[in-house]
Every structure is written in structure tokens, then in C-alpha cells.
């Protein structure tokens, strides 16, 4: 039975996928770089939060706050030291380097934390729920969705209201002319990846608290993120949220019919959108 309940669960799940996707979308929008290690970085973030929780014994939200600057710095260094060297007309180097990075991160996590699946405990919040009229929803999924909306609002503010955002857009338009304006493209790129890693930290928090994860969980997150971005249309963060929701709803509906079909249903929804609207539902910033 596909009830209202299923749909609402799907929409909320979409919030999680939009969080996975926002960082990917940000980095692609600014430097046309597709980071194949994006999912693994999210999983890495989840382990980092897990470690902070168990070492400092703090609540996961606080732990994410501690992890965020670490992730920010890592993103900055990763871009500055490695990824900036791969940018250019040829699409191969960034793809292959980030693919290699994905393999490295997965196996480093495997070596450090074993293949056992983990979960960041939220205590009572994990099972808390609220009644919203006809449906009852979990508090945690609700917070996740709200975070996704906040992240997108925040990124849009950053993009369209601040000097950094102006530099992001200018550099993405035309690197050479941007450098004539005193902007250093490699620094802009490093900042963009660092900001994306802040979003990754938030995504990691909810990845780790809502379900089990293990070192090999990254590629699937990358794929969901990617599907959300493509469905939404490149360059539109609200479109990405819509894309996440479509994947989320397709998955919960698929799972309601047959639990084995959950993931497959999400992929099929993506392929259908690709077939009907290859440029996504809100192409070229249409949903900004």
C-alpha cells in the first residue's frame, strides 16, 4: 500500500540525499570538477564524528561542530595540494585522481575501523516522532530535511549575497578575467572545496545517525548525490533538493512494494528523468 505515510517518508529521505548532493553540486558548479570520492568523504566524515563522539563523549551535533573545521581544512588542502593540479581542459585527470582517492579513503577506513558497520547513537532522538496531522514522522528525518533546506538557503546566500560568492561565480565564468580582478583562482577553488566539506560534515552527521554505515558505503552515496544533481538540473540547488526528493520517494515507494526493490526503484526513477528531460527538471539555475 502506498500511503501518504510512504510519500512523506520519501520526501524526508530526499532531504538526506539533497545533503549528499549539495557539496557535489557546489564543487561542480564552480570548477567543473566531479569528485568521485565525494561519497567516501561523507563516510570519512561520519567516522570522524564517531571518533569525536567516543573520545570526547559529546552529543553528535556537538561532535559535528568539532569535526567541521577539520573537514574544512582537509578540503582546502586536498584542493590546494592535489586537485588544483588536475584542473584543465582534459577531464581525465580529475576523474582518475578522485577515483584513486576513493579507493584510498575506503581502504584506509577499512584498515582503521574494520568492515563492521557502525552507527552514531543519538539516544532518544533516534526513535522520537511527532504527529503531523494524518502522518507520524520521525524527529530525526524531520531535522535532516530542515537541515537540507537550511544548507541550501545558506549556500544560496553565500553565492548571491557575499563577496566570496561573487568571486565563486566570477571564477566559474572566466578564470583569466577573474585573476585580473585580483582573485586567485586556486584559492577560490580551495575555498569552495573547503565549504563543500562543511556541507559534507552535515551530510555525514545524518548519514551516521540515521542508519548503519561501513567503509564501503561511499560509492552508493555518491551515486544518490549524482542522481539528485542530474535530476534537479546542473547549477540549481533547489533543483537538487527536488532531485533528492524524487529519488527518496521512488525508493520508499519501491520498498513498499518489495523491500528488495528500494535501491533499484531510485535508479530507475533517475533513468526515466534522464530519458524524458536529459537536462534535468530545472536546468541552468532556473530554480534559484
Amino acid at each position: 500500500m502506498i500511503g501518504l505515510d510512504t510519500l512523506v517518508q520519501g520526501v524526508l529521505l530526499g532531504g538526506l540525499y539533497a545533503l549528499f548532493a549539495a557539496g557535489l553540486s557546489l564543487v561542480f558548479g564552480i570548477m567543473r570538477l566531479v569528485n568521485l570520492a565525494h561519497g567516501d568523504l561523507i563516510v570519512f566524515g561520519a567516522y570522524l564524528i564517531l571518533v569525536v563522539v567516543s573520545v570526547l563523549g559529546v552529543n553528535p551535533f556537538l561532535a559535528a561542530l568539532v569535526a567541521a573545521p577539520v573537514m574544512f581544512a582537509l578540503g582546502w588542502l586536498l584542493q590546494k595540494v592535489v586537485l588544483n593540479r588536475t584542473l584543465g581542459d582534459d577531464i581525465l585527470p580529475p576523474l582518475l585522481v578522485t577515483f584513486g582517492l576513493s579507493v584510498v579513503i575506503q581502504n584506509a577506513l577499512l584498515e582503521s575501523f574494520s568492515a563492521d558497520s557502525q552507527r552514531i547513537s543519538m539516544g532518544a532522538l533516534e526513535t522520537a516522532s511527532v504527529d503531523l496531522g494524518p502522518v507520524t514522522v520521525g524527529v530525526l528525518p524531520l531535522i535532516t530535511f530542515a537541515s537540507a533546506v537550511l544548507v541550501i538557503v545558506g549556500l544560496n546566500q553565500l553565492f548571491y549575497r557575499t563577496a566570496i560568492g561573487r568571486a565563486f561565480r566570477a571564477t566559474s565564468d572566466d578564470q583569466v578575467t577573474a585573476s585580473l580582478m585580483g582573485i586567485r583562482p586556486d584559492r577560490v577553488f580551495a575555498t569552495a572545496t573547503a565549504v563543500a566539506m562543511l556541507v559534507v560534515t552535515i551530510a555525514a552527521l545524518y548519514l551516521g545517525t540515521r542508519a548503519n554505515f561501513d567503509p564501503s558505503a561511499g560509492p552508493a552515496r555518491l551515486i544518490y548525490a549524482f542522481e539528485a544533481v542530474i535530476i534537479g538540473g546542473l547549477g540549481s540547488l533547489w533543483g537538487t533538493l527536488a532531485g533528492g526528493i524524487i529519488i527518496g520517494v521512488a525508493q520508499t515507494v519501491g520498498a513498499a512494494i518489495n523491500p528488495e526493490w528500494q535501491i533499484l526503484a531510485g535508479h530507475i526513477a533517475f533513468l526515466l528523468v534522464l530519458l524524458v528531460k536529459p537536462r534535468g527538471l530545472f536546468p541552468q539555475g532556473g530554480g534559484r
Binding site: 585522481v97 577515483f99 584513486g100 584510498v104 581502504n107 584498515e111 528488495e260
Partner: protein, 352 residues
């Protein structure tokens, strides 16, 4: 005045031709001299080399970076198991079916994948491979999510195996490995010869033009989309054949193994990148390095994979043309020359 000839041959390439002939003859006779373990290692090397050549054709020549070639390995392998288990086809014949099924399914797959460009194509192919894996896991007749084995009778009666058994005086299981090995040798020789031939035809030159500059190629009438399509289907066919053969030899299949991104794409990318992208020689060197690393370090598990990833990143950053690129830059040697060169005319050729 015409002292120039256009040639793609080099002295090294002629030496290489005879060298290759001797090498292939030697490899063909190997089962007479070496044990089963070595034959299995050689089988692994040859099939990985085949996969690497086809990935290289896609990415290095076609500019199509796919992270989803495991789709065709898995589809080919499952086509073979389906043909053997459901229709009782001889396993050796089924290898051809594996290739055909892969190429037929590649047509609808390309409809989706080609809607995405560049980096998005890469992840798109990965999604499609996942869809294939998840769909095949629903196919109960071949074992669903847990997989299945090739039926004992089908394998026992497999064509040529009894002949090899008596001729070489080996047990059936070993004869099967030897047959698979010979088939792998035929496949890799055909693959390299075929790709070499393709690259030297007009079509292949057009491909190089498309890779170097799609706009310019289009302006001189090269249909870039069509070329990429041809390359995609060719790779699907070859990868499907290899997939069928690999799982014929393994004798057991599961969706997670047959559609593994690590085994059939990550390793293959590593082989091509480290050897040298966009050359025929590169994957050959790459597969040897890969095998060496594998035999030395595979016991270290995750550390080994980390090492592979780091080497791949390092090569991409500091020697993007791979080991073969470094070597041929230093020495100018080309074993499979594809570019046309002006020969003759001595020094004056420069001004001509």
C-alpha cells in the same frame, strides 16, 4: 622529387611484430611446460589485459571515461550462465552469446549514458552498472542475489575438453583451465590486433581527431557521436566476451562479484593509467606491473588497495602518460605506431 612515403611503420614496430609472434607462439605452448597454477596466473593476466585494452579504447581513444564496464563483464557472464543453465548450450559457444548479449544490451544502455557528458558520463555508467547488478540479483533462475555454479554435467561435456584431456594427459579440471587459457590468448591477440587495425583505418584516424578536438573534427565532417557509439559498442562486445570467459573459468558466479566495480573497473583503470593511457603498449606494461604488485602485496588486503590508489594518483599527477609514455618519450620507441609519419627525405624533409 617524391622521396617521401607516408608510413605508420617504424623499425621498432617491425621488430615488435616478430617478437610478438614468437611470444604468442610461446604462450600457446605454455601448457606443455608449466603447471596449473601458472596457467591460472597467465589466464588472469590475459583477461585483465583484454579488459584493459577495451577500457583504454573507450577512455584513451574515445574520450569516454566509463566507471561502469563491470556492467558488461557481469552481463556477459550472466548471459553465459543463462545460456548454459537454461538452454543447455555448450559453454564454449556461450562465450559468443556473452559478447552478443553485452553488445545488444549496450544499445539501450548507450541511449541513457550518452545523454551525459564527460564526468557525468562516468557516474552515469556506474549507475547503469548498479541497475544491472540489482536487476540480475532478482533473476531467480540463475541464483538471484546469492548466485550459482555452472552445472557439473555441462562443464564435463564441454567441447574440446576431452580432447585436451587425452592429448596432454591431464585431469578434466586442468584441461578446462588450459582451454580457458587458450581462449583467453586468442581473445587478447584478436583484441590487440583488432584495436590496432581499427586505429589505423580512416575511422581510427577520425577517432584520434575527435579525441584531440571534437569541434575541429566535426568541422571537417567527422561524426563524433557516431564514432563514440562505435567505440562504446565495440568495447561492450569485447568486455562481454571477456566476462563470459572469466566466469566460465571460475565456474561460480554471484551478482556482487560479477558486477564488482573494484575487480572489473578500478583494477582495469589502474592498469591503463599506470601503463599509459591512449597507447596499445600501455595496458600491456600496466598489467605486468599490476600482476607483480598483486603477487607481492595482495596478502596485505586493504593496504595493497591503498597502495594501488596512491600509485594511480601519483602517476596521474606526475606522469600522466604512464610508464610507457615515459619510456617512449625517452627513447622514441613505438611498438604499435598509429600516428602517420613522413618517412624519407632525410633532413630536408623538415622544410618540405
Amino acid at each position: 622529387m617524391s622521396v617521401y612515403t607516408v608510413t605508420t611503420r617504424t623499425r621498432a614496430s617491425r621488430t615488435a611484430f616478430w617478437g610478438a609472434l614468437i611470444l604468442v607462439a610461446g604462450l600457446a605452448l605454455a601448457p606443455l611446460f608449466v603447471g596449473r597454477g601458472t596457467i591460472q596466473d597467465l589466464f588472469f593476466i590475459l583477461t585483465m589485459l583484454t579488459l584493459a585494452q577495451f577500457w583504454n579504447l573507450l577512455a584513451g581513444y574515445g574520450g569516454l571515461v566509463s566507471v561502469g564496464q563491470q556492467a558488461f563483464v557481469g552481463l556477459g557472464a550472466y548471459a553465459l550462465y543463462g545460456a548454459v543453465i537454461l538452454y543447455g548450450v555448450d559453454p564454449v559457444v556461450s562465450i559468443l552469446i556473452a559478447g552478443l548479449v553485452a553488445v545488444v544490451l549496450a544499445v539501450p544502455i548507450s541511449v541513457f549514458a550518452f545523454r551525459l557528458q564527460g564526468a557525468y558520463f562516468a557516474i552515469g555508467t556506474w549507475v547503469i552498472a548498479e541497475v544491472c547488478r540489482l536487476s540480475v540479483a532478482q533473476w531467480r533462475a540463475v541464483g538471484g542475489g546469492t548466485g550459482t555454479s555452472l552445472p557439473r554435467e555441462a562443464v564435463a561435456e564441454m567441447m574440446l575438453v576431452p580432447t585436451i584431456e587425452t592429448a596432454l594427459d591431464v585431469r578434466a579440471s586442468e584441461a578446462r583451465d588450459i582451454l580457458a587459457y587458450w581462449l583467453a590468448l586468442i581473445l587478447v591477440v584478436a583484441t590487440i590486433a583488432g584495436i590496432y587495425w581499427l586505429l589505423r583505418t580512416r575511422r581510427g584516424l577520425a577517432l584520434a581527431a575527435v579525441r584531440d578536438n571534437e569541434e575541429a573534427a566535426r568541422s571537417v565532417g567527422v561524426d563524433a557521436g557516431r564514432m563514440k557509439w562505435v567505440v562504446f559498442l565495440t568495447s561492450a562486445f569485447g568486455t562481454g566476451l571477456a566476462g563470459g570467459l572469466i566466469y566460465l573459468q571460475k565456474g561460480r558466479i554471484s551478482p556482487d562479484a560479477a558486477f564488482s566495480v573494484t575487480d572489473w573497473t578500478a583494477y582495469v583503470i589502474f592498469i591503463v593509467v599506470i601503463g599509459g593511457l591512449g597507447t596499445i603498449e600501455g595496458p600491456i606494461i600496466g598489467v605486468l606491473v599490476f600482476f607483480l604488485l598483486q603477487s607481492l602485496f595482495a596478502d596485505y588486503g586493504a593496504w595493497y588497495l591503498m597502495l594501488l590508489g596512491l600509485i594511480g594518483i601519483g602517476v596521474m599527477l606526475f606522469a600522466p602518460r604512464g610508464l610507457w609514455g615515459l619510456l617512449s618519450e625517452r627513447t622514441g620507441i613505438q611498438l604499435f605506431p598509429v600516428r602517420r609519419r613522413l618517412a624519407g627525405g632525410a633532413l630536408k624533409g623538415r622544410e618540405g
